[in-house]
């Protein structure tokens, strides 16, 4: 799975780096002075690299924890994200990472301890509960077998009652969660589009059925579950497909296990969208009814409102409206 590993000078001293190198002893290892030499150059093809991403092991020396946009939360007042990993195992055509990063290589920051210290500092200095979102620039669980992220961070969060962690994922690689006692302050949030949509624009993503099955098992075990119906995709038979999706989920997910549902339309900065469209000019998704406004590409207002309303209405058959959050620009 990982054929090539770049190691930033100094990163090799970290336990996480040593652990990964021991596990991937057959990989071709290439030293680099700074991860940016590998990750940042222009004239790289994200699309080509996506076929066989390398792993870059580096140290994050910049800002470790960032505030999230005000409209992106799920009920908390203090919301942050942190990115121990940039890029994702899956290949979703709507994903902004394709437009934001010049490279599709997995960039793992191995100084986990520094992230933990910063999370601890923020949560201790906050009078209110803080939320920490871990799946902003990656899928929180899909590369668990490589990164050991959840295995490392969840025990730390267990000791932080003032902090919540969201693991956002499309993965069914949930073994690490089954091996742990559920955390009262963790939400395992699964992202969905209907299977008919997923098959077209989410390459490599486990089937909707298998994700629902993973949710069922985690909920049974006592984990709090989040649903992220985001981005909503304007598709044929929208109402029926999304209704089927929700029905499939709520047939197995008791409302008591549901923490929150968030809905969001497709939206992306213009510059990211243009970059992605240039790489995938033949992609039907990009022939959608989009408009550019205030520097962002999104569905035309009328369409977006319709999609949100239809999905909200369908959701309200199953979910208390207090648990539904709209994520808009």
């Amino acid at each position: 799975m990982i054929d090539t590993i770049y190691i930033e000078s100094g990163a090799e001293e970290y336990p996480k780096c040593k652990e990964i190198l021991a596990r991937y002893s057959q990989a071709k290892v290439i030293p680099c002075n700074h991860y940016k030499e590998v990750f940042n150059p222009s004239a790289q093809s994200f699309r080509l690299q996506k076929k066989k991403p390398a792993l870059i092991l580096a140290k994050q020396t910049g800002k470790l924890v960032h505030p999230i946009p005000p409209s992106y939360g799920v009920g908390g007042k203090q919301n942050y994200y942190f990115s121990h990993l940039l890029n994702c195992l899956y290949d979703c055509r709507y994903c902004f990472l394709q437009g934001m990063f010049p490279s599709a290589h997995y960039l793992l920051f191995v100084n986990f301890e520094d992230f933990e210290h910063e999370i601890l500092r923020i949560s201790e200095s906050s009078p209110e509960s803080c939320w920490f979102f871990s799946g902003y620039d990656c899928d929180s669980l899909a590369l668990e077998s490589v990164t050991g992220f959840a295995q490392h961070f969840l025990p730390s969060f267990r000791k932080l009652p003032n902090a919540w962690i969201e693991l956002r994922t499309k993965s069914v690689n949930t073994k690490i969660l089954h091996d742990l006692e559920p955390l009262a302050n963790a939400v395992v949030a699964f992202s969905f589009t209907p299977q008919e949509v997923s098959s077209q624009i989410e390459q490599g993503v486990p089937s909707v059925r298998s994700r629902i099955s993973a949710i069922e098992k985690l909920a049974d075990q006592g984990w709090k579950i989040g649903l992220r119906i985001d981005p909503l995709i304007d598709c044929k038979d929208f109402e029926q497909r999304y209704s089927n999706l929700l029905q499939g989920i709520f047939e197995v997910l008791p409302e008591g296990a549901l923490h929150s549902v968030s809905l969001g339309g497709f939206r992306m900065p213009n510059s990211f969208y243009k970059r992605i469209e240039r790489q995938y000019p033949e992609e039907p998704l990009f022939a959608g009814n989009f408009k550019s406004e205030n520097g962002y590409i999104a569905y035309r207002q009328k369409i977006e409102t319709e999609l949100m309303e239809k999905c909200s209405k369908s959701l309200q058959q199953w979910v208390n409206p207090e648990k539904i959050f709209n994520c808009n620009i």
Partner: protein, 267 residues
Amino acid sequence: MNFVVAFKVEAQPIIDFYRLKKVEDSPCPIFRNDHHSLIMSGLGREKAVSATQVLNQITRKANQGWINIGIAGHGSLEIGEAFVGGKIIDDSNNECFYPPQVFEHSFEVSSIITCTKPSSNYQTNLGFDMEAHAFYKTACQFSSRELVQVIKIVSDNPTHSHDQIKPNEVPVMIDSHLQEIDALVKQIDEASTAMQPDLELDQLCEKLQGMHSFSVTRAHQLHDLLRHAKAIGLKLSQIEELIISATDARDAIKKAAHFVEPHRTLK
């Protein structure tokens, strides 16, 4: 594929393998067939830069495959072993490049340093040559970095110094790796082809622009409409008919947009 090779003894096996024919009247020796081109650069950075630029001017297409093949010294690998440059360093300023390794091959991947002079200062896990860095830097101006690669065959190492290299042994060394080099060439060429502009679309767009007086903005709109129509599986001939029947460019865009509109929802 564009090959940049320093010397005749390194180039000849490639010329023979791909049955390349000499191009007359070129500043450096150039050999070509319908799919591949090879230029002999001569020794050193400046010649590698110049040869890469010359070959680009002749082939004139963005995102082609580029490979620099040749012999090199190495601190750890055996004589005759081939490696791909995973990190390419310039000894004059320590500038580094990291050609992304996205294709399947079984070559070793090694760092290589491009030196100003031949070197006997062998270091573990490090190759030496005199062109790779200059070649890579230049070729990346014309192509995406994944499509530019450096393949070297070890001609000297700590037990066999560079002054012991026999020129008549070089073609044999290169030749023994050509099957595997060709497998890599095919993958790079396939990726290069996939990155080329859609000629059918561009030609149709150009043809349709000749029907009415399109402003630059409307020409872009027309191209986008045609691209979207093709992406969602509409027949371009139907758009062509609409545009031919339009009264002017504005009407053409309006009609084409109206035709595409109901089909924009994802299937």
